[in-house]
Amino acid sequence: MTAFKVPILKVGDVLLVSIQADIDDRAVLELQQRVLEQIELTNARSVLIDISLLEMVDSFTGRMLSDIASMASIMDAATVVVGIQPAVAITLVELGLELKGVSTALDVDDGLRILKERMKEKRRKRTVGADEHATA
């Protein structure tokens, strides 16, 4: 197995993770680690994981996606997974994997839009909270 690293790019505030091929379990765990490190290093507020080229998602990969979303959230970054293929979606449902806690979008455009909305919502909530503090 060649050591093939999943590309992680910073685009604005967003960490773009592009899983382009079938990766083995070790690479999956490594990816998780790298994403969290990059969130810290780049101060990213959002993570967008593009799996439009993944032709299979099993319980291990599904678990990885859920974990990344949870862990990123603890580090105050939102996560969106985009590009789940129809056949993969059907199989996930049949497997009984719901990918709890993972937001999904059709493609990168929609994913970025959703992340932007979530950021706006977060800021709005914080501003409200700050105002409430101020008036108290």
Binding site: V82, P86, A89, L92, E98, L106, D110, G111
Partner: protein
């Protein structure tokens, strides 16, 4: 003639091969005579020439095969060639409205035509005659039943294709507006139909970048636990893609059934009217319908009772 080992017992006697090869033309004649004169010959469906041509090909292929391969195992390129030939004949006959029984019977009928020639060749050796007749008979039996097997396979293939076509026709995915598609379901939902419906819907969602997919079940006669599960499964898969599914056409009887069966539809958006589903879809995709003379403060006029007659709408009751 006795043989030492098993394998040569399975092989055809050289005399048989000699007789069949040398007298092939005569055999063909007898066979054709028997066919044409038989009570079940349907001369309106097939011409004498075509029948003769096919029969000649088959007879020749059969004799070649038994001369060169083990007649019991029926393997190898000669027997494969016969089977291919039978496939062609079978398809041609089917197209001519012959039943598979008739075609199989046609193959079986070669047996009686071979009898006089073998009887003649082995007239001093009734035991071997019987053995040879047996071997040939078995081989022709297997070839005849091969016709049935392939006919069934062909029919199943046609049925599957027709089902697919019917499915395509009966479940058109309609693009209602930007990012909104609608799939009206009509008829009973069985596991196979649902499967195909789900695949089509998901593919169309990806292709058209639909944010909302409306599944209208007005045309689905009964919703039981199984159908409800199919719908839930579809909604979940759509959600995984990143889109939302709205189920419309949920009427009083379906609503009652769902509650009585204890089916949990929480998290699934359902509407009674398709138009309400469409309205919801517009909202969710951040779009709205406004009359051409919108009032200056931008009040949306997609409300009931709007009388501006330049706004054409197909959903007159609900908009």
């Amino acid at each position: 003639m006795t043989s030492e080992n098993n394998t040569s017992q399975a092989a055809i006697n050289p005399l048989t091969i000699k007789v069949l090869t040398e007298r092939e033309d005569e055999i063909l004649e007898i066979w054709m005579e028997n066919r044409v004169n038989s009570s079940d010959f349907r001369e309106t469906l097939i011409s004498g020439e075509e029948l003769r041509a096919d029969s000649q090909s088959f007879l020749r292929a059969f004799i070649t095969a038994i001369a060169n391969s083990n007649v019991e195992e029926m393997r190898g390129k000669e027997f494969n060639a016969i089977r291919r030939l039978l496939l062609e004949i079978s398809e041609a006959r089917a197209a001519q409205a012959f039943s598979p029984s008739e075609t199989a019977f046609y193959v079986f009928s070669l047996k009686e035509s071979l009898l006089p020639f073998l009887r003649d060749a082995f007239r001093d050796d009734p035991e071997t005659l019987l053995e040879e007749l047996n071997k040939l008979s078995k081989a022709l039996d297997k070839l005849g039943s091969f016709i049935f097997v392939t006919t069934i396979k062909n029919r199943e293939r046609v049925i599957r294709q027709q089902q697919q076509d019917m499915l395509e026709l009966s479940t058109p995915v309609v693009q209602i507006w930007d990012r909104i598609i609608c799939l009206p379901l009509i008829g009973t939902l069985d596991s196979r139909r649902t499967q195909l419906m789900m695949e089509r819907l998901l593919e169309r969602i990806v292709k058209t970048r639909a944010e909302v997919a409306i599944l209208d079940i007005t045309g689905v006669p009964t919703v039981d636990t199984q159908v409800a599960n199919y719908l839930i499964k579809t909604v979940t898969a759509v959600r995984l893609l990143g889109s939302t599914c709205i189920i419309t056409g949920v009427g009083p009887s379906i609503a009652q059934t769902i509650v009585h069966l204890g089916i949990d539809l929480s998290g699934i958006i359902t509407r009674n009217q398709l138009s309400d589903g469409i309205r919801q879809a517009f909202e969710m995709t951040r779009q709205r319908v406004v009359p051409i003379n919108a009032p200056p403060d931008g009040e949306p006029s997609a409300e009931k009772g709007d009388t501006d007659d330049r706004v054409q709408s197909t959903y007159s009751e609900s908009w």
